[in-house]
């Protein structure tokens, strides 16, 4: 059986360019004892992918050239020699950029069926991005009613959920995004208070107008000049949840951060986090998010690109901001 796989051929320098990732066709290995064969259905594309391609160890081991490109997936078990898994079960794992994945079951989790939610929602609002938004906002910043929350990359997979949880918690929410369409979606559909188009507006000036009482909480997805602008308007005892720094991921050398003077004078608490740190508390988040979805308090948008062949092109959309919602590649059909 053939298996199309994207292979990391070179560590990208700056933007990912053609030739860094190459699509190859290989044979699927036959299963050893305790292994399972998964047919990948959905592949998650995330800003963090860029860091995995840097050749540098971070919170996960560094990828090597020649590796199958790493990625989170949802798939269906086609064959099992592992008693913990049955043929036909739907699972979530790091299945990689390929059609089929052979696994020993480590890190593979069954997704409950019959919840009424579409399968691709488990790649976003009910998957890692929803969990990231939940813990990054609630655990790190403890938002209180009436506080002002600013979210960067607000129309993104994580940011859009953060915005809505902020509203649920009674915050005034201001989102920063990269197009008028995204800003309109944030305000009109998701119900946040204001949105700022950082590509066409003066962020510093607009933050002044939209956050007259200063900023209590900043959910950081981007870094760079947006962060500088936010820091100058933070209130005393403000909190910053440091989730991502996408503006710098394609940089060819390390970009300095903002001066720490504002963090000191304003007694800011800043905390970096990775969603995996909250593994033991995932159920808590699922319960809340599921309820909010049922109550129509949370909306989400998945941007599904069909065909594994298109993954290499699709990931570039993330960094240019062309995606509308959580970026997912559909590798094969869902089961009926």
């Amino acid at each position: 059986m053939k298996n199309k796989q994207w292979i990391l051929k070179k560590f990208p320098v700056g933007e990912i360019s053609e030739g860094d990732l190459v699509l190859e066709e290989n044979e699927v290995a036959s299963l050893s004892d305790s292994q399972i064969l998964i047919r990948n259905i959905y592949l998650s594309l995330d800003p963090a992918n860029r860091g995995w391609m840097s050749g540098q160890k971070s919170y996960v081991d560094a990828m090597q050239t020649g590796d199958i490109m790493r990625g989170g997936t949802i798939g269906i078990i086609e064959e099992s020699k592992n008693e913990k898994f049955k043929k036909g079960e739907i699972v979530n794992c790091m299945g990689g950029w390929q059609q089929f994945c052979v696994s020993d079951g480590k890190g593979v989790r069954q997704i409950p069926l019959g919840t009424g939610f579409p399968l691709d929602s488990y790649m976003s609002v009910l998957g890692m991005t929803g969990l990231t938004a939940y813990f990054g906002l609630l655990d790190i910043t403890d938002p209180q009613p009436g506080e002002t929350l600013v979210v960067s990359a607000a129309a993104g997979a994580v940011g859009s959920i953060v915005c809505q949880i902020g509203k649920i918690k009674g915050c005034k929410v201001v989102g920063i995004a990269g197009s008028d369409t995204k800003c309109k979606w944030l305000v009109d559909e998701l119900g946040i208070d204001s949105a700022i188009n950082y590509k066409s507006e003066n962020v510093r000036q607009r933050l002044k107008e939209t956050c007259p009482d200063g900023i209590d909480i900043y959910f950081e997805n981007v870094g760079g000049s947006i962060t500088e602008a936010v820091l100058t308007r933070m209130n005393i005892n403000g909190r910053i949840s440091l989730c991502g720094l996408i503006s710098g991921y394609n940089a060819e050398s390390i970009v300095p951060g903002p001066a720490w003077g504002n963090l000191l004078i304003k007694r800011i608490k800043l905390k970096g986090f990775i969603v995996f740190d909250y593994f033991k508390r995932y159920m808590e988040a699922y319960q809340d998010i599921t309820q909010w979805l049922k109550d129509d308090k949370i909306k989400y948008k998945n941007h599904i690109i069909p065909g594994i062949e298109n993954a290499g092109e699709a990931i570039r959309k993330l960094f240019s901001g062309e995606n509308e919602g959580k970026l997912i590649v559909q590798i094969s059909e869902e089961p009926n």
Copy 2:
């Protein structure tokens, strides 16, 4: 009665230079109802003073040119028309760079006499710098036995107390300071594990050697390249207590900070603080520090410069690192 006073004539650009602060002689005003007259004995010189001279509002109101230079003092009440204060009491307040201070009693606290500790210790280990060290380390970083603590400006008034509280809490303590004499004092007299002379040694290399298990806690007093070096060796879930950034205080424009990538990947918690935030918990710190002094677990060094005339020259020592211990100007004699 004459009163020598240092007046802020110009906001310094870069280093404080002659003419920014000018010594003048004025008359002491006679007391109105509810006022007190304090004769200043000791004047505290601190890195934060530079920020107060910037013309920018921070955690306190901005100073204006023409103001008496702001500073923490210990003094004796010479005359009182306020029922809360009696002649002869020793008090701590923001008495300013002058021989006499007229106050309405706001922010003036009596210092208990007969404790057995010298009066100038209330300007350092039993004053703001001791409290700063105590809360900045214990409240923000929660040091655990066996963890590695790195302290910058380690031989300074705050840093040297942080180092010793770190040892009391069972940490491995590595200090960074600016001379071999200071480093020797830290290791031989204060008993920390290692010291690095940042002026003559490669900090990055020496941190590698002295912190083989990485750095769990960083007590930040300086900013700049030392911070960069520390960040690269921080462990996952590390904590940073952001107390000061002296390396940038004389900068003529804002110096960028380190990239936030390490804060994210390593899930660092960073918190800025100002000791005044802990006002309600001061007694807790006094009790512990007093006990540690009695048990000879904490040593301190005050660098006392006699004569109010010398304050203008003395403050420059702070930024060149020429001071040995807490920098204090003695304005008048202690009572017998």
